[in-house]
């Protein structure tokens, strides 16, 4: 019996936390191993826990590919806007069957000493802004907080906003005092971090879905007995199913909770017509990805597109 340690980037009752708790439950039910969970910040920031997983201090870690971009540039493909489908059924099918995720990415992670176990979607990314957004014109002059990633910066520049880097801890205060006027995140995160209190217009432009990868330290994983490997793989599969289930309707529930907490919040889903000018910018960001996405950028992007077409059923 061993103790395995699993750190992730979110709190216990957010999506990554739910996934990790299910994983722990499955492992402990089907083997005599124990799993200790370390939520957001308890062992450091995203880059810190990733390094700890590479060093073998942690056996399991979650990191959204956006952050992994600093290590594996190809992972930034998940920041190309309007690449992932808005339709939930297609999205799940893609994550289950994608050749890019299950065959092309694992060797890239292996080069960094990591076993890629799975990737899963966490929910549609929405903008929260102090003024309502109907098109790129409304983003003009809006200082919009994005993670420090070249593709996100390029996206929001293309959308017409002024992308502004800001440490996560300062975002709430900066929205309140007006240093910035917007930020983006999935609905559950907007709800749990109370961003709607200080930026009460939520816009669904359907430009992306927040993605996370689950990894194990490769040396640890390779050293497991076949029985334990099976336990881990099954637990990952069970947690994936559980999370998909948990998430269906999560976006709506979160938005409803927001609406109950603050009736003055507006939630706008852009029409296909309104999305068109945003979508038109995607090609430029895609080109930027091919430029900075590392040697495998092109094959990965092509395979993702093929996988997405397959998931869409044509």
């Amino acid at each position: 019996a061993e103790t395995w340690r699993y750190a992730f980037e979110e709190a216990m009752d957010e999506v990554q936390g739910k996934f990790a708790q299910k994983f722990k439950e499955e492992v402990e039910a089907n083997s005599d191993n124990e799993v200790q969970l370390f939520p957001f910040g308890t062992l450091g920031e995203s880059a810190d826990i990733m390094e700890q997983a590479q060093s073998g201090i942690l056996q399991f870690v979650d990191q959204s590919p956006g952050f992994t971009g600093a290590l594996i540039p190809e992972a930034q493909v998940f920041f190309v806007p309007y690449l992932l489908p808005a339709d939930e059924g297609q999205l799940i099918k893609f994550f289950r069957d994608s050749k890019a995720i299950h065959e092309l990415f694992p060797p890239l992670y292996a080069d960094q000493g990591l076993e890629l176990l799975t990737m899963f979607p966490e929910g549609e990314v929405m903008m929260t802004t102090t003024k309502p957004i109907a098109g790129p014109a409304d983003l003009n002059e809006v200082k919009f907080r994005v993670m420090t990633n070249p593709l996100l910066v390029a996206s929001y520049q293309a959308f017409g906003a002024t992308p502004t880097p800001l440490p996560w801890g300062e975002v709430y205060g900066a929205l309140q005092t007006g240093i910035i006027q917007g930020q983006e995140n999935p609905a559950f995160f907007i709800e749990s971090t109370k961003m709607y209190e200080v930026a009460n217009n939520i816009t669904r432009a359907g430009h992306n879905n927040f993605t996370t990868a689950v990894m194990a330290n490769k040396e640890f994983f390779d050293g497991l007995s076949d029985a334990d490997k099976t336990v881990v793989r099954n637990a990952i599969a069970a947690a994936f199913d559980y999370t998909v289930d948990y998430q269906s309707g999560l976006t709506e529930t979160s938005l409803q909770k927001i609406k109950e907490a603050r009736p003055d919040v507006t939630i706008t889903t852009l029409t296909e017509e309104q999305r068109a000018p945003f979508k038109a910018t995607a090609a430029a960001v895609e080109a930027k990805f091919l430029e900075i996405g590392g040697p495998q950028a092109k094959p990965i992007l092509d395979q993702m597109k093929a996988d997405l077409a397959a998931a869409a059923g044509n």
Partner: protein, 428 residues
């Protein structure tokens, strides 16, 4: 292992080792114990760097720098002269003004360490000259700076709000009442202190003299404008306001007052760098130590043994207060919040305590912890800035900690101190 860690830390501290050593040795024993050897010390280095890296900490060296320029030049004295023209004749007036200045500056800058430097730096020499005892002055500055955590914006409250799912706006408003109550208690104490020690007062200034002081202070009044107006007006983040103060201070002292030479600028920058390094290595070592505590799940083990589930509301609130108070004495406050809040969340919910009240109480404990020996970061900062021995810096703190603990107890029995304004603002 826990005993070995805490025992050696206290031992090395008392023997007179540089304070980074007890913290580093505590972390070292932890890393070697947890991972059965020296194999994972890379991660200890990583955590030291993780401790000094956060962007919000940049405000600390910037305010140290600005305050140092102001104090060496004329800006600080002119501002203090202005305050003295209005309160110099009141018993304890300068001390009360210092406490109020710490509150205001701490409120907007959000950093207790920056407050110790920026307000304490210029005001301490004046208070000493006015006849206050140094231990009192140091303790007043360190503890009044704590109020920074309670008055918005407060990083501690943001983290608590995110981890516990509590409205951050409500937390912000709830912090104001206890923050002002603490200021009131400190002011009363300062008055009593001034009367009992017969600190001399100045003659009441004439309105003409006050006008002259105001004219002299016109340029330096740009500092409060940059800090308060800039941050609340949405122009600057606190860090940027700090940098703006540096440039404004350089402009005043080098161009307007022509007091400072390039050579002095170099000296000031160097001394700022030195103080920054001395404080930040402790923050880094503290972060490595916090990691060990977090990784070994020490708090979970201790709290699991106490058994909070059977307690009533008062029992739970007292346990929370004590846990955060003790935790923050040794470990970085943010880490304490991240670890402990989820542990307490179920029992808070089941007993039915208002999470905003819990957040306010926790924030207060975090504030107290940062000014409490042995490892409070404000104490390090004060030692580094004022070059006074540890014992002297902490000698005057007991009455202040007593007042802070009194407010903690009052909060538990009279939650309206915190919730009154919240209920008013959110019509609850």
């Amino acid at each position: 292992m826990t005993y070995a860690i805490f025992g050696s830390m206290i031992g090395l501290l008392l023997l007179g080792f540089p304070m980074m050593i007890p913290l580093l040795v505590g972390a070292l024993i932890g890393f070697v114990g947890l991972f059965g050897g020296f194999g994972q010390l890379d991660t200890m280095v990583q955590q030291i760097l993780a401790g000094i890296r956060p962007a919000s900490l940049i405000a600390v060296p910037m305010f140290i720098f600005a305050a140092d320029i102001m104090t060496r030049g004329q800006s600080a004295n002119r501002l203090i002269d202005l305050v003295m023209a209005f309160v110099g004749h009141i018993k304890g007036g300068l001390a009360i003004s210092t406490a109020a200045a710490c509150t205001l500056f701490g409120a907007v800058s959000g950093s207790t360490q920056a407050t110790v430097v920026a307000v304490g730096g210029p005001l301490r020499p004046r208070m000493l000259k006015a006849g206050y005892n140094d231990s009192f002055v140091l303790a007043l500055i360190i503890n009044a700076s704590d109020i920074a955590f309670l008055i918005p914006p407060s990083i501690g409250m943001i983290i608590y709000g995110v981890v516990s799912g509590t409205s951050i706006s409500e937390l912000f408003i709830a912090g104001i009442g206890p923050g002002l109550l603490i200021l009131l208690l400190f002011s009363v104490y300062a008055y009593v202190y001034a009367v009992r020690n017969d600190v001399p007062t100045e003659r009441r200034a004439t309105w003409g003299a006050r006008g002259a002081a105001l004219r002299r202070a016109l340029w330096p009044l740009g500092f409060p404008l940059i800090i308060v107006g800039g941050i609340y007006g949405g122009i600057f983040s606190p860090t940027e306001a700090a940098a703006a103060c540096v440039l404004y201070a350089l402009f005043l002292e080098m161009v307007v007052f022509r007091e400072m030479t390039l050579r002095q600028l170099y000296q000031t920058a160097k001394s700022t760098g030195l103080i920054t390094a001395v404080v930040f290595i402790l923050i880094g070592a503290g972060a490595a130590f916090s990691y060990v505590i977090s990784f070994a799940q020490v708090p979970q083990a201790i709290l699991g043994a106490i058994g909070i589930d059977g307690m009533g509301a008062y029992g739970v609130l007292f346990t929370i207060s004590i846990a955060f108070f003790v935790g923050c004495m040794f470990v970085d406050p943010i880490v304490v919040i991240l670890i402990l809040v989820p542990i307490f969340a179920p029992v808070v919910k089941s007993v039915g305590i208002d999470p905003v009240l819990v957040g306010t109480i926790i924030t207060l404990q975090v504030a107290i912890g940062s000014a409490t020996p042995p490892f409070g970061c404000d104490i390090f900062t004060a030692i580094a800035i004022f070059k006074r021995p540890y014992a002297e810096v902490v000698r005057g703190t007991p009455p202040f900690i007593f007042m802070l603990l009194l407010v903690s107890v009052l909060l538990i029995f009279f939650p309206q101190i915190a919730l009154f304004l919240r209920d008013l603002a959110f019509a609850k």
